[in-house]
């Protein structure tokens, strides 16, 4: 009974529900009767069920920053990986230096240095960027870029592993057709490397969602900082950080579901077996996703 429930709902979702119930019980239970405990469940429930605009804002920032920083990270990672594998020595040196520095120092130090450090020394001030209806504040811009560049150093290794997993015969076939290095990479190698890159990329994004909490150091009101400040005002530290944790759990859990779906679809149709038939179903999403573009003809 429990097992089939778990199977149907997925372990992650079951865990989430369980966790919510547990926290709710603790929060509610501890507060009933015993005056010794200072717990006000209202704070917990309100920030989950009736989130105010600050929380909504924080959620939006956390998600938005994560997505853009991850995109920057993937792009930087692709270039750094190609740099590491380049024949031209200076490219290798630059790529290795970049990876060495950003993996070898704490993100918090990077954030402080590139935001506060550069500005205080009078070297560089991050500008406000107007993107359509919204202004991206300097600290948010800095946060996105530094997170992205930091992430790129980690993505580089993942992308490199992906590229190395592609049969060298593919590169040779592409070259023999007259493709340049750039065409070979973008049209032949990277679309195939994506198969290997996507699962760890999903884990990186899970990390990214949580790592954005460090941006509180730049006074960005993402999810963690929003809760942190209101906890400071209300002293409902226990209730609010519990709610904050639940919000992160919701984000990472939703992402987990999305991720496993992407991976499943992705591996479909790319196997070498013929078992699922030659019908058009096989070359739907998986194939399109692999080639990163729509097939020429359906």
């Amino acid at each position: 009974m429990t097992a089939s429930f778990l199977n149907r709902f997925g372990t992650r979702r079951a865990l989430l529900v369980g966790c919510l119930v547990f926290v709710a019980l603790v929060v509610t239970g501890c507060s009933s009767g015993k005056a010794a405990y200072n717990i006000r469940p209202q704070f917990f429930w309100d920030s989950l069920l009736k989130p105010d605009s600050a929380i909504i804002n924080g959620l939006g920032l956390t998600i938005g920053i994560s997505v853009i920083a991850q995109l920057i990270g993937v792009t930087m990672g692709v270039f750094a990986a190609m740099g590491r594998m380049a024949k031209f020595l200076p490219f290798r040196l630059v790529a290795n230096f970049y990876i060495w520095v950003f993996r070898g120092t704490p993100l918090l130090v990077q954030l402080s240095f590139f935001y506060y450090g550069l500005a205080t020394a009078g070297l560089f001030r991050w500008p406000t960027v107007v993107a359509g209806p919204i202004d991206i504040l300097p600290q948010v811009l800095a946060g996105i870029v530094i997170l992205g560049v930091n992430e790129g150093a980690y993505m580089a290794e993942i992308v490199r592993a992906g590229i190395l997993a592609v049969d060298p015969g593919q590169t040779e076939a592409a070259k023999s057709l007259g493709m340049t290095y750039g065409q070979t990479m973008s049209r032949i190698v990277l679309p195939q490397a994506a198969r290997v890159i996507i699962p760890p990329l999903g884990n990186e994004f899970n990390n990214m969602l949580k790592t954005t909490s460090l941006l509180s150091a730049l006074s960005i009101f993402e999810l963690y900082n929003t809760f942190s400040v209101s906890a400071g005002h209300s002293y409902a530290t226990f209730e609010l950080f519990a709610a904050c944790a639940v919000w992160y759990l919701i984000l990472t859990t939703i992402w987990g579901v999305v991720q496993s779906r992407i991976e499943r679809r992705f591996s479909r149709g790319t196997t070498t077996s013929n078992s699922s038939g030659v019908g058009p179903r096989n070359k739907g999403f998986a194939a399109r996703f692999m080639s990163l573009r729509a097939p020429i003809e359906q």
């Binding site: 049969d167 015969g169 593919q170 040779e172 076939a173 592409a174 070259k175 023999s176 057709l177 007259g178 493709m179 340049t180 290095y181 065409q183 049209r187 032949i188 679309p191 195939q192 149709g269 790319t270 196997t271 070498t272 013929n274 030659v278 058009p280 096989n282 070359k283 194939a287 692999m290 080639s291 097939p295 020429i296 003809e297 359906q298």
Partner: protein
């Protein structure tokens, strides 16, 4: 069995005209892998519309040689001309050779089709996409036009029904025929084949050889590394025997197979026959 009904080269607008009578002119080619001397003063000329079959024991340098012809391998000595153009290198003032720019090498490779032992089709593209990829993105031919040519090629290699199928759903023989069509779609002046049937199950060898024979008869210039005697006897103008990085013997199929002049050729033939 596939019947290659219509003219294969008709699909790409006739026999691509090589610019010179001697399409391949390899002079004293020397190649080392580290300290291993793999090609030793190899000379080979292939005239327009000729089919040359290269045979020789494993490790004799056959693959290495044809990979040098489209500069998938660097050479350390000698020169290879295709269509009168020096492949992979340009001469400096002092007569020294330096490796050419990537862009020029890519341009040269567009004129040279290559078919690999293990097909190397792009697994993330359908049969037709494999064929039109380079014409569209390398040659810059309009998509519609490339697809018309691609479909015609698929039909001529007997796989018109497979245009939307991915390589992993095709047999080895079918994949290799598509690989040949993919190379032909670039309208190359020269085709290189590296043991195109040796990774195939016996029952699929015939269908691939059939396409290659057709190509040879229609006047494509080809270098074929293969131990398929029947194929060589039927369409080869010349057979070249390599051993230990050296061309030991060269002649018509009859000369080489029936009356080899070199001891090494005799030994080798006695092993594969």
């Amino acid at each position: 069995m596939t019947t290659v009904s219509d003219n294969l080269l008709g699909a790409i607008g006739g026999v691509p005209r090589p610019e010179t009578d001697v399409v391949v002119d390899a002079r004293d080619v020397n190649k080392y892998f580290g300290r291993l001397h793999v090609l030793k003063d190899v000379c080979l000329q292939v005239k327009r519309q000729e089919t040359v079959v290269v045979i020789g024991p494993s490790g004799s340098g056959k693959t290495t040689f044809i990979r040098c012809v489209n500069h998938l391998e660097k050479i350390q000595g000698g020169r290879i001309f295709v269509n009168g153009h020096l492949i992979g290198y340009r001469e400096t003032g002092g007569g020294k050779l330096v490796e050419d720019r990537e862009k020029n090498i890519s341009l040269q490779r567009q004129e040279i089709g290559m078919v690999f032992q293990r097909f190397n089709l792009f697994p993330h593209m359908t049969a037709l996409e494999n064929i039109v990829e380079a014409p569209i993105h390398v040659r810059g031919i309009p998509e519609e036009e490339a697809r018309v040519v691609g479909r015609a090629l698929l039909e001529r290699v007997g796989l018109a029904a497979k245009e939307n199928v991915y390589p992993n759903q095709l047999s080895g023989g079918q994949q290799q025929r598509i690989a040949i069509a993919r190379a032909l779609a670039m309208k190359p002046a020269l085709m290189l084949f590296d043991e195109p049937t040796s990774a195939l199950d016996p029952e699929m060898i015939g269908e691939v050889l059939e396409v290659m024979k057709e190509l040879a008869r229609e006047g494509m210039t080809m270098i074929v590394v293969s131990h398929e005697m029947g194929f060589a006897r039927e369409v080869a103008n010349r057979v070249v025997m390599m051993d230990d990085g050296v061309v030991v013997e060269e002649g018509t199929p009859d000369q080489v197979f029936s009356a080899p002049s070199q001891e090494r050729t005799k030994t080798f033939l006695s092993k594969i026959l």
